[in-house]
Amino acid sequence: MAVVESILRFLVLLLSFFGTLALAGLGLAVIFGIMGIINFAHGEFIMIGAYSTSIAYGAGIPLAGAIVVGGLTTGAFGLVVERLLIRHMYDRLIDTLVATWGLSLILTQAVQIQFGGTFGSIPVPFGTFQYAGFSASMYKIVLGLTALGLFAGTYAVFTQTTYGLQARAAMQNKEMARSLGVDTGRTYMLTFAFGSVLSGIAGGLFAPLTVLTPTMGSEYIVEAFVTVIVGGTNVLIGTFGAALSLGLIQTPASQLFGTLGGRVALLVTTILIIRVLPEGISGVVTSD
């Protein structure tokens, strides 16, 4: 019984770490993979998702609906940011990095001024999952499964829609895509908005598990960064593989050394991995 219990404990923990890493990283990875830019305000996009989810939930919308509202609000915000800021810097990668960093400072402080230090929390739904002496929050399992669902959804968007086809074309060869009539500017705009929606949904999903503060984004940004570094430019396989393999490291590390140990292990693993796989998991699966 004890063996089954500890295996269950491991699997549930793995699922929840995998979910957190994948959700935190997916929006960033979509934008990075297709457009080649890193959104340094990514943590604040997650924060906006969490806050708007909380507002919608407070207005009486059920949690699932509230999370959708959070995703769409963040997506709309991302669209505005792309039009005002990002599109002026498509060919200046480092400038997009620093400009979005400036944006992150503004957003954190603006939310602090508008809403104060903390914000309305959402109770954790679904209760607990019980097996013999072992119990876990059902919601954390749902989190991991939702992450899998979002991967499937993103896969569908990139393979089944015209936008997805054009986005992949723009990623592989921008000039060729343009000469074949793809409006890459529009594709990038939609990509940034799509990545923002994913970040917003992630924020909404994280909202019940954390205290909503203006700086909550920095709680997730390390997870997002290491997932993208280990994953590389391949949005789906890279991010999925990175979240899974980092989860496999973080789970035993946090069981042995606590939460902090788990997070330090994430960073150390990432630093070790880049020595052998500078392009991350994408470098293994993509042959060119």
């Binding site: 800021l85 480092i94 990095l97 944006l103 503004i106 390390v222 290491v226």
Partner: protein, 365 residues
């Protein structure tokens, strides 16, 4: 400084300090420089100790700005976690300083330890990054992730003691000794004015030293790496090693600044490695102009003074101001404000062509 020795000595010194890699190669610039430095050194007679104390810290930040300008602006390594090394230097100085002050009576060992520890730590990280040949953007997010994880670790150090120092988690390390001069039993702790002079002297020395470095052969190789890494490698340079050296030495300089900062405030806490703190040096260098030394210096001083004023009038808008300046400069003056002003001024006056900007291309990868 330049008026020591005959005209031959001045010419030789100017030869070392000047070149197309730094702004300000005219005689007029050096007169201006001497006036500013002269003012820095008579300033203590014109103002009160509080203002001196505040300015001492600005000078420390300016050293940090210089370290980032060299590694990011000149070498093209996107070290966005320079504050990790600044903080590591500060914590090392605090821990060693508190532990040894009773034994040795001075802080020389603590300063040395701060530099050595940051150089070693950054060399370890740099080894994995540069010998793994990861690309530019990855360096940016990885170094920032290191700083943020450092912050996480430091926050959880409540009730942790290293040597005689209590790390204190979020509350930080208190009771860090001030800088001392001399060694062993002859060590003298420095007062506010003496510390001001020492840090001012260190700042001027760092600036001139980095100018000599950047205009030397090694400086040209660093620029070559920034402009075209592959081509530099083809020409026979060991780019990985050179990047590693540049990365760890500038991190050591940041660690040194961190030690000065800890000694200045007798205090250090984990916010120094947080996300906001990490962005601040990036803002100075971006706003000032990342391929100059003088730009980040001016921007660091100006933006720190403005931030201090904004926070003393009790507004919560400091970060909004900094962020807005940051975004606007990136949008409209991608090369930074100081180079833009210099270019405008030269256009108008039509002289002082000491840098041929048309030969250099953008640093972007």
């Amino acid at each position: 400084m330049t008026d020591a020795g005959g005209p031959g000595a001045i010419a030789r010194l100017r030869d070392l300090l000047e070149g197309q890699n730094t702004l300000g190669n005219s005689t007029r610039f050096w007169y201006g420089f001497l006036v500013v430095v002269g003012f820095m050194f008579v300033y203590p007679f014109l103002t009160n100790p509080f203002v001196l104390k505040v300015n001492t810290d600005y000078f420390v930040w300016m050293i940090l700005a210089l370290s980032l300008a060299v590694v990011w602006g000149y070498t093209g390594i996107f070290n966005f976690g320079q504050t990790a090394f600044f903080g590591l230097g500060a914590y090392t100085f605090g821990i060693v300083g508190i532990t040894l002050i009773e034994v040795t009576g001075g802080t020389n060992v603590a300063i040395l330890a701060a530099v050595v520890v940051t150089v070693l730590a950054s060399a370890l990280l740099g080894y994995f990054m540069f010998y793994g040949r990861i690309r530019g953007l990855y360096v940016a997010i990885l170094t920032l992730a290191v700083a943020l994880t450092g912050n996480l670790i430091l926050v959880r150090t409540t009730n942790t003691t290293i040597g005689a120092a209590e790390l204190g988690g979020n509350n930080g390390v208190t009771g860090i000794p001030s800088l001392t001069l001399g060694g062993g039993p002859l060590s003298v702790p420095l007062g506010i004015t003496a510390q001001y002079y020492l840090v001012a002297l260190l700042l001027v020395a760092t600036y001139l030293g980095l100018r000599i470095l950047l205009n030397s052969y090694y400086g040209y190789v660093l620029l070559a790496i920034r402009e075209d890494e592959d081509r530099t490698r083809m020409l026979g340079y060991d780019v990985r090693k050179l990047k590693l050296i540049a990365f760890s030495l500038t991190a050591g300089l940041a660690g040194f600044a961190g030690a000065l900062h800890a000694a200045w405030g007798n205090f250090i806490d984990p916010t120094v490695m947080g996300l906001t703190a990490a962005s601040v040096p990036i803002i100075w260098v971006t706003v000032g102009g990342r391929d100059t030394l003088i730009g980040p210096l001016v921007a660091a001083y100006a933006l720190q003074s403005i931030s201090t004023k904004l926070s003393t009038v009790g507004s919560g808008y400091t970060n909004i101001f900094l962020g807005a300046v940051f975004v606007l400069v990136v949008l409209f003056f991608p090369d930074g404000l100081i180079p833009a002003i210099v270019a405008r001024w030269r256009e108008r006056t039509g002289d002082g062509h000491d840098i041929d900007r048309s030969n250099t291309t953008e640093a972007e990868a």
